[in-house]
Amino acid sequence: MGLLSDPSRRKVLTGLLTRLNTPICGMPVEWLVKAMQSRGLEVFTQSFSRKLPFPDENKERYMVRGTNVYGILRAPRAPRTEALVISAPCSPGDSNNQAVGLLLALAQYFRNQVYWAKDIIFLVNEHDLMGTQAWLEAYHHTNITGMEYSPLQGRAGSIQAALSLELSSDVITSLDLILEGLNGQLPNLDLANLFYAFCQKLGVLCTIQGKLQRNDWDTAEGYTHAAQTMMLMVLKQACGRSWGDHGLFLRYHIEAASVRGINSFRHYKTDAATIGRLLEGMVRKLNNLLERLHQSYFFYLLPSLSRFVSIGCYMLAFGLLVVILLLRGVTEAQQVSLPSGPGVLTVLTPVVISHLTGVALYLLPVHLQEMAVEHFPVSETEAVVLTAVAIYTAGLALPHNTQRLLSGEGTEQGWKVLKLTALLYLAVLLGCTALINFSLGFILAVTLVPITASMTPHMPKALSALVMVLLSPAFTVLYCVFIYQELIEAPVSVSEGWMLFLSVISQGILDHALYGSLVYPLLALFIYPCWLMFWNILFWS
């Protein structure tokens, strides 16, 4: 009995202490430094700190301060121009408690070998992605996210490849390979093939998206299973966040993958020694590389580890969707003759207002959180998310206000020109998005293209307004949340799904502020204004 027996009070106290920036359990920096030094590595530490734009309720942090510890194993007889990185995120609690031990064991074993041609950096980073971001920014002398960090004292050459380990138990049944990185960037397929081939050689079970592979490709169940795996990859890629620590390496043109050990209910378990052999083999293969991995595909989708869908196949589907928009645009262009001076202004007003709303959606949630917290009984995170939802919904009321500003200039010509502009804008936007993050572009195309290509003011207003809202970007995100939960076999109820949706929005804003993920600015500044332009066309009077 006492203050800490009540779980909610514990939570409040934890939150209070996190905000006060006194870590209850941090990383054992001195122990790690001693451990690495005793294994013969050159050990350095790096401290970093960052104040998040608003508290992160999933990971319960707001003002983050941490230390990365890394040891460099110098190649004994080679010029020190290239390096490999093996990293293990160190988080408090049980989530990754075996990886550091495995890392140290590997370091000790590697130290006694003479065949290393590249330097090997053993990185233990704190606060998972933030620590990796601070380390990578310091290594490459950039500062793109506004993090404060101390410069690195020791450095190796240019990093050729990286592996990130996540192990929570010392015996595992399978290893899960995680490839999706920041902004949907993927490592070269050769890295995945390498890992899978080596796992097969050693007899270790390797999975992707947490699902085992099936061998019956021609049955319906096999096909469904593969389709589900591929859909999971599409959803994970579309959300633009890095699903493992490796994701941030990809931005610096370093091929990286995350390996997560899964301990499920299966008879045959693999012990840590085999995992060690596996990792040693992987690192030796990467060590023997003469150039960066670039021969295989960078753009692919994996229905399983032994099959892939290359960009040549899937881009065609996307191209056909965008062609719909272009053909529609050509049809509209033939019916429209260029209006004189005032006509252009008629079109310009909805465009400018939509984009201003988009800018408001991008800037205001984070900037107005203090004001919202003063006036409403919500926490900062909730304030940010609910402001975003409120601005999004308020945008729906725009057409009426825009029409008033135009003072009755809405002519038949006017909406056709606006539709032409909006169609071309959407086509270019979706094209650029698909080139960078195909899954995001594809999902947006699938939901936006049908309704926008056929949008006219003469459609039945109530029905088409409903359809338009149901296919808007926010609802697309909601559907993706539900579909994702279904696919990982953890279906949620509507209310849980809604809470998950709100947390997805807050994660999106945080990812953009912390790591430079482009999903939130893309949706707020470009896709949403484009959707608003079509909404304006629907209500053109």
Binding site: H253, H294, G341, G431, L435
Partner: protein, 457 residues
């Protein structure tokens, strides 16, 4: 602002228009939208100058080239301050006039870059006064062509549209925020066109010499300027007439003389002839193969050394080659020839940037009456817009993500240049077609009376 108004009023009073008083009245009516436009343009530029985007934009390869990057100007100034020749080290490729100009105004650089576009739109006034000449000659044309001619009311808005097209063009804004000296080169060319249209051969020659001194390609504008003056002075373009040769030699003398004087002055400014290989040798021999929106870099990156000289000659002759056929075809329409020449220079020069593209695009509203004859305008605008959006995406995929390579970026470059060439040739077709209609009537009939179609061969 007041200066421009005075300029406008003085020009209109000096011109040979019939509705002199009416034009003056109309011009003051246009002052309010013009002021609004200026304020908007200056605000956008000021906001961007102060934001974090300015650094990002000044490093984009589409906006700056080795010839006009601000970073290099600063480097050259630093070298000059140290007493070393600014051309040592192959960093600085601006002319000595430019370095001395910035030596004095480097603290006010942003203001200089914001003011220079204003000079371009002052030019637009004179295009108006020029086009109004057509209205007087309406009795020369067949009756059904009157709809092809433009009324003064239509032409009233052209200066505003030209100003809008230049000042609010994203290309110009990017070029200005990046502090690329392309804006200043554009201003010199605009002043040259202004003086040509105003009829002052001396100033025109001097400014053309200055423009040529800055980058060699405006040399091709000598022909249209000459043709304009010959037309204005009613000297027929006949190689056997002595009046033609007399004027040509006069103009050529002014031009070459100014060029010699300017080059000599540059020599005395810096005390050496270093600037000739650094500036003109650089433009001609294209040693720097940083990707840009032009056609040179990819070719020369793949070229064997053995053939390099041959291909340099081929590519450079390509810029100058179109002058003679175009001059022959458009000898009665020198203003359009100036537009075509500027467009050709922007497309085929060795280090183009978006600022060069913005210059010829600013003149498009002056030919808005050709819109009905344009055939590909939708395709061209789509291509240009899509390419402008795809440039940064493919650059990111190539340089940062490593998933693409130079071929992708060059594909977009090729597509962009294709779009520009299509735009220029479309306007050429439309212009010739309108001239044909003006001489032969709008509704063409074949010999048996059925409707005919016009084909460009």
């Amino acid at each position: 602002k007041t200066v421009c108004d005075l300029n406008l009023s003085s020009v209109l009073m000096n011109s040979n228009l019939v509705h002199r008083a009416d034009s003056f009245f109309l011009a003051t009516k246009m002052a309010a939208p013009l002021t609004l436009l200026l304020i908007v343009a200056v605000t956008i530029r000021a906001v961007l100058f102060r934001s974090s985007w300015a650094e990002l934009i000044s490093e984009r390869v589409e906006v700056v080239s080795p010839l006009n990057a601000w970073k290099r100007v600063v480097e050259g100034l630093a070298l000059l301050d140290l007493g070393v020749s600014p051309y040592s080290g192959d960093v600085f490729h601006e002319t000595p006039f430019m370095i001395y100009l910035f030596h004095f105004v480097v603290d006010y650089a942003e203001i200089v870059f914001m003011v220079s576009p204003d000079l371009v739109f002052c030019l637009s006034r004179f295009l108006t006064s020029l086009k109004q000449k057509y209205a007087l000659e309406s009795d020369r044309y067949p009756a059904d062509c009157l709809e092809l001619l433009r009324s003064p009311k239509e032409m009233f808005y052209i200066p505003l549209k030209v100003a809008m097209f230049y000042l609010l063009n994203p290309f110009t804004i990017l070029s200005c925020v990046a502090k690329s000296t392309c804006g200043l080169n554009n201003a010199i060319i605009a002043l040259f066109i202004l003086c040509t249209l105003k009829g002052s051969a001396l100033l025109s020659g001097i400014l053309l010499a200055l423009a040529t001194y800055q980058s060699i390609y405006p040399l091709t504008l000598f022909a249209p300027a000459l043709l304009f003056f010959l037309q204005r002075l009613y000297i027929p373009v006949n190689l056997r007439r002595s009046s033609f040769w007399f004027f040509t030699l006069q103009y050529a003398f002014i031009y070459v003389g100014s060029l010699v004087v300017i080059t000599g002055l540059s020599f005395f400014l810096l005390g050496s002839w270093d600037f000739i290989p650094s500036v003109y040798g650089f433009i001609f021999s294209v040693p720097d193969l940083t990707p840009n929106i032009g056609l040179f870099w990819y070719f020369f990156a793949e070229m064997f050394e053995h053939f390099r000289l041959f291909f340099i000659c081929v590519f450079q002759i390509n810029v100058f080659f179109y002058t003679i056929p175009l001059s022959i075809k458009l000898k009665e329409h020198p203003v359009f020839l100036i537009f075509m020449q500027i467009a050709i220079i922007s497309i085929f020069k060795s280090y183009p940037t978006v600022g060069d593209v913005a210059l010829y695009m600013a003149f498009l509203p002056a030919w808005s009456h050709l819109y009905r004859f344009l055939r590909n305008i939708f395709l061209v605008s789509c291509v240009l817009l899509a390419c402008s959006a795809l440039f940064p995406v493919l650059w990111h995929l190539w340089i940062y993500a490593g998933s693409a390579n130079s071929n992708f970026y060059y594909a977009i470059t090729l597509l962009f240049n294709f779009g520009q060439i299509l735009l220029v040739s479309d306007y050429f077709y439309a212009y010739l077609r309108r001239e044909h209609h003006l001489t032969h009537g709008l509704y063409l009939k074949k010999k048996d009376g059925t409707e005919a179609t016009l084909v460009l061969k």
